[in-house]
């Protein structure tokens, strides 16, 4: 499968970014999350009052801030990929640093939000809404932590000595694809936890 993509890259214009294998992961993991979301929406409709009341305790502004930060990180990692492809490795490195910083900001603000909720008295088992809240944000958080490992791979590849192989660029794209997945899953989680009524 891996050399498949290399074969296609030679044709100008059309190519799969990164390993096609990573796309299999993205699509599969998206299906799993769709399952989580489906159960959440279904059970939300079974006790709408409880969910609305609990949801009112979330601060939409923090959610929006988190989303913007993660979108920024996605933007910078997309720049990183394009810079690396164009051979501008210094630029790519800067973008990867930016991505890491945005990721860290997201992480810190997420932890801050959890602490805030726990202080108010909303724990994992407090009520159904907060169970979903901690579950979805938590499992996303784990994906984010794995994302930092992916960013580490990007740094490692960008630091390699000058004539970089096609495989190196492919790995950068693969890891970027993973990072974007973390981003778009958050976009969905944010919409479903904070804004849905």
């Amino acid at each position: 499968m891996t050399d498949h993509s290399v074969a296609q890259v030679t044709k100008p214009g059309k190519f799969v970014p990164g390993q096609p294998d990573m796309w299999a992961f993205v699509l599969f993991e998206t299906l799993v999350f769709t399952g989580y979301f489906g159960f959440y929406l279904f059970y939300r409709t079974q006790s709408p009052e409880l969910f609305l009341r609990a949801q009112a305790q979330l601060d939409l502004r923090i959610g929006v801030f988190n989303t913007l930060v993660l979108l920024l990180s996605s933007w910078s990692v997309a720049r990183c990929v394009q810079s690396a492809r164009a051979g501008a490795y210094r630029q790519a490195h800067t973008d990867a640093v930016l991505t890491t910083l945005f990721g860290l900001v997201f992480m810190v603000s997420k932890v801050f939000e959890w602490f805030r909720q726990i202080r108010i008295g909303n724990g994992f088992a407090s009520n159904d809404f907060f169970t979903y809240y901690y579950f979805l944000t938590g499992i996303h958080f784990i994906h984010l932590l794995i994302g930092f490992i992916a960013l580490g791979v990007i740094f490692y590849q960008l630091r390699r000595p000058a004539p970089r192989s096609r495989g190196s660029q492919e790995l950068v794209e693969t890891c970027a694809t993973y990072w974007h997945t973390v981003d778009f899953l958050w976009v969905l989680i944010f919409a479903l936890l904070y804004v849905v009524r």
Binding site: T2, Q19, V32, T131
Partner: protein, 258 residues
């Protein structure tokens, strides 16, 4: 030296007659047979999968034990006979890692992790439910105790499978011998993540995250079933492609031309 000589001189004819892959095929066949037995025992015979509810009171639990009395006792007795088959599947998977271009440490780690896994992952449950079903006249409180012990030890034991999947994933992703496609490495990650999702079963007695919940059990079971089906298929391909060399595994003959 004497025996060494006899062992290397005459056996050429003997080797030629043997299928060189017969040990691998034996392991693969055992793996398939084990999962068939596993499915029949857990889903049909004992009715422990899908699991009954953790929200039941002790009266209902006792009733459940009564309804499934002989199924539990016969089904798990079968498991006690055949659980050793898992060693074959673990050995085959460890072997797949030895065929890769990675350190033997990966294969051995997997082997030890999964040798451990049978006890908390399955046998404790089988023992506890057998004890629970053994004396229907036992105090219902104690029967409920064995019930909780059984299902939580079975469903809530995650670490060995989590780390095992991650070790396999890492080996696949850094392997240069193309033993498995990379997407299967990532599928290992999906499976590992579902092991994390199971953990709230220790906290909730009802809802989607309870041990019989739609997320903690059903969704994860679907992922696990896909994962298992895929690795059984890929192990089969591995054996077909095996050339007993140390370099990259050759592709299957008809698909090799691209």
């Amino acid at each position: 030296m004497n025996t060494l000589a006899t062992r290397t001189a005459s056996p050429l004819a003997w080797y030629a007659r043997q299928n060189p892959k017969r040990e691998l095929w034996l392991a693969w066949g055992t793996l398939v047979v084990f999962y068939i037995f596993f499915g029949v025992v857990f889903f049909v015979l004992t009715r422990t999968q899908p699991p009954p509810s953790p929200a039941w009171d002790s009266r209902k639990v006792v009733q459940w034990f009564q309804d499934n009395h002989s199924g539990i006792l016969i089904g798990f007795a079968i498991m006690f006979v055949i659980t050793g088959m898992t060693t074959m599947s673990n050995a085959l998977i460890a072997y797949s890692m030895r065929r890769m271009s990675v350190s033997p440490a990966f294969g051995y780690t997997y082997l030890i992790l999964y040798s451990l896994s049978a006890i908390p992952g399955m046998l404790l449950m089988c023992i506890a439910l057998t004890v629970g079903a053994l004396r229907p006249d036992r105090d219902p409180e104690l029967i409920t105790w064995t019930y909780d012990f059984a299902f939580l030890s079975f469903i809530g034991t995650m670490g060995v499978f989590l780390i095992g999947s991650l070790v396999w994933m890492l080996a696949i992703l850094i392997d240069k011998n193309r033993v498995f496609p990379k997407w299967f490495g990532y599928l290992n990650l999906c499976n590992a993540l579902t092991e994390i999702v199971v953990s709230p079963a220790w906290i909730f007695r009802r809802g989607v995250l309870a041990w019989n919940g739609q997320i903690a059990w059903w969704l994860n079971m679907v992922v696990f079933a896909i994962y298992t089906g895929v690795f059984i298929f890929l192990l089969r391909q591995l054996i077909q492609r095996e050339d007993f060399g140390t370099g990259p595994l050759p592709n299957l003959a008809p698909k090799a031309a691209r």
